[in-house]
Subunit: 111 residues, 2 copies
Amino acid sequence: MEKHPETLNGIFQALADPTRRAVIARLGKGPASISDLAKPFDMALPSFMKHIHFLEDSGLIRTHKEGRVRTCALEKKSFASVESWLSAQRALWEARTDRLEQFVTAASSKE
Amino acid sequence: MEKHPETLNGIFQALADPTRRAVIARLGKGPASISDLAKPFDMALPSFMKHIHFLEDSGLIRTHKEGRVRTCALEKKSFASVESWLSAQRALWEARTDRLEQFVTAASSKE
């Protein structure tokens, strides 16, 4: 069973869009203001803000406002839940491969 | 730049649903028929089939039919593109941490 299915739903949904993934890649280099983040995209600001809100709601980024400037930063610990889900899947496959190997070894030692 | 943004869109979208993630976790233990996969879910078969089609379209699973039975199996190489995207993000943060460290070391050696 997953511990926080809703969190994973939100994170994967947030990652399913190229603009949002590009914002995340940019923030990997350090925090940035909304206007700096928006620059590379040929997109109206309200549309871009929807992506920012989506990312913030998913927990992948946090934002804070100082004066008139809102700055965004990556919330790295949110990525840990994706990485841990992926490694849990990999652990399942690898356990299965180990069992197949044991079966083949046992079968050939009987021959 | 991402090599295959559409592929990543589809994969992340497919992973954004708890039923689809549960199917993936089940297939991690080995291939299974649609009817076996559907059993744990309180869901009409057409709704369940939509999830299977979604997973198949994303490339995360493959299916094949023998007689009347359709069997599903994990397409493990699709997970590699998610893992590689995630590790590219982590590489960005870590490069940044390294630069910060160098800066702090250089600053303190000047004192």
